[in-house]
Structure formats: C-alpha cells, structure tokens
C-alpha cells in the first residue's frame, strides 16, 4: 500500500509539473520573473576572456548545418548565381562614413583565422575554422558615432512567414577580438547553407547569435523599435539576448 502510494505520488508529482508549468508559462508576469536572471547572468559572465582556439585536426570537415537552410528568395538566388559579384555589405546608421563593401574589398582587409567551437542552444557543438574580417576592424573603418550602442546585423533570409532574420551585439561584444565577420569556413569560401557570402562568428555566445547571410550592418542607439524589439529573430521568439550561458 505504502509502496503503491509512493509510486503514484512520485509519478503524479512529476506529471503535474508539466501541465502546471505549461499554464504558468503563458503568463506574462511569470515570464518577466523568470527572464529577470538574464541581466544577472549578463552582468556576471558577460563577454570576458577568449573562447578556446583549437588545432586543424579538431575541425569538423562537415560542419553541421542547423536552423534555416540557404535563403530561397529571388534576390539571394541572383547573387548566388553571379557568385556574389553584385553583393555589397552596407554599413550605415550611426557611423561617420557609411559605406558598401564588395566581397573583393572585404577580402583585402586584414584577415583573421580562428578555429573555435560553435555551441548550439540545442546542446550540440561543432568545431570550424573561420576566416574573415574582425568586426572591430570594420567598425574602425566606418567610424562609430557617439550615439551608437548596438551593432545590428540584418540578414538576407526570412523564416518563410516574411520575418527577416536579424541579430545584435552591444559595442563591447562587437569589439571582442574573436567577433568575426567570416568569409570562409575550413579554408573554402562559405557555402550557401553556412551563410554565404558573409556571416558573423561570436564563439563566446550560443550559436544563434552568429547570424548568417548578412546583408547590412547598422549601428543603432536602441533596438526597441526594430521588428519584435528584443534585438534578434530568436530573441523575438523568447530566447535570451545575452546568450553566454
């Protein structure tokens, strides 16, 4: 009897959690309380130190593709067909010298290579060799104006419902030496599934911060009025803006 009571109470306690929290999860106040620790984690962990860098032998030859596959819209198809000859990375917003850089121009800037681990929010990890331009170098080229607080990355893909993918970093994160605008993966130009022609790599945060298919970088004072107002596509779906944990 006692044993049966024990098993029944154990199972019902566990099973109860799912349905109770399912209801609570829809409550805005509950969500605000739960989300409050993001600021604490951001303040305590932040973006400090350097992500570990690995050797060539650690690299995954077939780096896992996740999330959305290559953009399917016509404009991207045209750019891909001409091997991104007409691609221009627009850098504007709160900058001294707005510009639009071709791939050739980006390739002549100082290149940085880093072999780092990509930690997905889903729990898996993969190691890739990424080469490209340090984001801080590009920021220096265009000159950040005093009002700028965030670097916003506008991407060339959408989720099929017309919502454009975007991401953001604050200037401290963007100035991190490993914040990289990658042009190459494993010694070859990025392929469409991995974000061609240009993607972000931020190895100190979870993978969803490393936006693919970047078309425009905009310096902004706030992202409150951009799309869902939370600073990124996945952030608008409920994921943390600070993704260091």
């Amino acid at each position: 009897m006692k044993r049966r009571l024990f098993i029944a109470s154990g199972l019902s306690t566990l099973a109860g959690c799912g349905s109770v929290t399912a209801a609570m999860n829809q409550n805005a106040s509950v969500q605000r309380v739960l989300a409050s620790v993001e600021r604490l984690n951001h303040a305590l962990i932040g973006t400090r130190g350097l992500a570990r860098e690995y050797d060539d032998r650690d690299v995954d030859a077939n780096f896992r593709v996740n999330g959305f596959a290559a953009p399917s819209d016509a404009r991207y198809g045209e750019l891909l067909a001409e091997k991104f000859a007409g691609y221009r990375l627009v850098v504007d917003g709160a900058v001294e010298r707005p510009n639009a850089f071709s791939l050739a121009q980006l390739s002549t800037m100082p290149q940085r290579t880093q072999i780092t681990r990509h930690d997905c929010v889903e729990g898996w990890s993969a190691i890739g060799k990424w080469s490209g331009v340090a984001l801080s170098h590009l920021l220096d080229r265009v000159g950040v104006r005093p009002g700028a607080r965030y670097v916003l990355f506008r991407c060339m893909d959408n989720d099929g419902s017309g919502n454009l993918y975007y991401e953001s970093l604050d200037l401290h994160q963007a100035r991190h030496p490993q914040a990289l605008l990658a042009l190459r993966l494993n010694d070859a130009p990025l392929d469409p599934d991995h974000g061609a022609p240009l993607r972000l790599k931020v190895p100190t945060q979870l993978g969803y911060k490393s936006a693919k298919w970047i078309g425009r970088i905009e310096l902004v004072g706030s992202f409150a009025n951009i799309y869902g107002g939370r600073g990124g596509y996945w952030e608008d779906q409920g994921y943390e803006w600070y993704a260091g944990i």
Binding site: S19, N25, I45, Q205
Partner: protein
C-alpha cells in the same frame, strides 16, 4: 498531554525547513526543464564537441510509432516511455522525454531554458544561505560524514536489512543519513552546478580549465545529466523513507520543526 509535549523535540530550524521546501520545488523544476533542454539534442557524448563515435546515450525515433534508447551502443525499444512519447496535447510523436514530465509541458526550448536558469539561481543561492547559516549555528557538524562514521555504515545498513537487532550508536543523524547528506549536499550538488556552468560558452571563455576538467562541453553535459540521475535516486529513496517511517511525524517536523524521536 504533558507527556506528549515533552516527547517532541525541536529538530529543524526555520532556514533548514525553508531550504528543504525551496529545494523540493527547485529540484522538480530543474529536472523537468532540464529534460526539456535535453530533448532539443537527445544525445550525450563523452567528448568536447559532439562526436557520434563517443556517444554514451542516444534517445530517438527510428520510425513512426517507435522510440529507442541506445546506451553504450546497445539499443532498447522504449516506445511510449522514451523516444516516442506524448506531446501534451493528446497524441504521441518523436520526442525523447514525454511532454507530461518536461517543463513547460510542451516542446519549448526557450521556455525550458528560462525556467532552468531561474531555478538554478534559486537553488544555488538557497544552498549558500543554508550553508552559511548551518556553519554559523554549528549544525553542519551533525551532518557531515566523518572518518569515525565509516565503520558504522555497514552495521547501520545491516540494521535496516534486519540482519542486526540494534543500530550502532549515533547522535542526531545515523551514519547512512550522514553519508547521503554529505554526498548530495557537498559533492553532487556542487558538481551539478559546475558542470552546468562548464557547458556555457561564456563561462568556457572565462574559465576554460573548468570545461577541460570535465572532458569538454559535451562531456560536461553528460556529467550534468549523470548528476541529475544521482539526485533523482536520492530523491526517490528519501521520499520512500519519509513515506514508510512515520509520514505524519516526518512531515510535521519539516514543516513546524517539531519531531518525535
């Protein structure tokens, strides 16, 4: 009546009782939300990056209506329990742990992460407050397993197994209780916190020796899961003992503090 009053002793202070129930809630939430997070990538590898060649556990659904669990390369059919489970809305589908035991009770990784990271803070701060208070009050002495307790572990177990008429002499907690509390509070709980931190990219950048010490990110995830299994085992045995050894007395003592020895 007079006799009854003298028979009960004040056993648990307010902070101990409060910590106990905070941990109870936090534990259930952390397990449920942890399983939600696990479901997003239902594999555990003994490696730094994901590596199928070093896979220790894989839960999956090779075909519609079939759930399997593979441990060290041995595959078991676990349909309706693991791999092919309920979605919380009346039907079943490919999902490692069922919606009825994950938090929130449907597939929602970002939701699971918010519950998990919030209650991780609650549990850790509660542990710290309890530790400081217990150390100041001197209660820790009664709980920690000492060298002199080691020889009493088997006699105590023999007593439980009815192989011995009387338990070995002890003060407040018996040697097995001390062993369980010491292991859970001072070994497993800190390990679960550290392995959880070790699998975060921001922490790895600050303190990579921590991640390296556990064998890398995926290995830290494996240790984190294993720690949860140990805590579940403790929780199950603990609950069984409470239910079978004077449930009302045990509950009263952990709610009001008063216990009848």
């Amino acid at each position: 009546m007079k006799e009854l009053e003298t028979a009960v002793v004040y056993r648990y202070g307010l902070l101990t009782r409060l910590s106990h129930w905070v941990w109870f809630v936090a534990f259930l939430v952390l397990v449920g939300s942890g399983l939600q997070i696990f479901n997003a990538s239902p594999n555990l590898d003994a490696s730094d990056k994901s590596d199928p060649a070093r896979r220790v556990l894989a839960i999956g659904s090779p075909a519609a209506g079939v759930g399997t669990t593979t441990i060290f390369g041995h595959t078991f059919v676990t349909t309706n329990w693991l791999g092919w489970t309920g979605d919380g809305m009346g039907s079943r589908g490919p999902r490692a742990f069922g919606a009825s035991i994950i938090i929130p009770g449907y597939q929602d990784l970002s939701g699971g992460r918010r519950w998990h990271l919030f209650f991780a803070w609650i549990a850790a701060l509660c542990w710290l407050a309890w530790l400081v208070s217990s150390a100041v009050k001197g209660n820790l002495q009664q709980m920690i397993l000492r060298r002199s307790d080691l020889s009493k572990l088997w006699p105590m177990q023999a007593y439980y197994l009815k192989l011995r008429k009387a338990p070995p002499p002890y003060d407040v907690y018996n040697p097995l209780q001390k062993a369980a509390y010491t292991t859970v509070l001072f070994v497993i709980a800190p390990l679960v916190v550290l392995t959880g931190l070790a699998l975060s990219p921001g922490i790895d950048a600050i303190a990579s020796p921590l991640t390296v010490a556990f064998g890398g990110r995926q290995f830290a995830r494996l240790w984190h899961f294993a720690g949860m299994l140990v805590l579940i085992a403790f929780f199950a045995i603990h609950t069984f003992q409470v239910l079978t050894q004077g449930f009302a007395n045990q509950m009263r003592s952990m709610i009001t503090g008063w216990y009848r020895p």
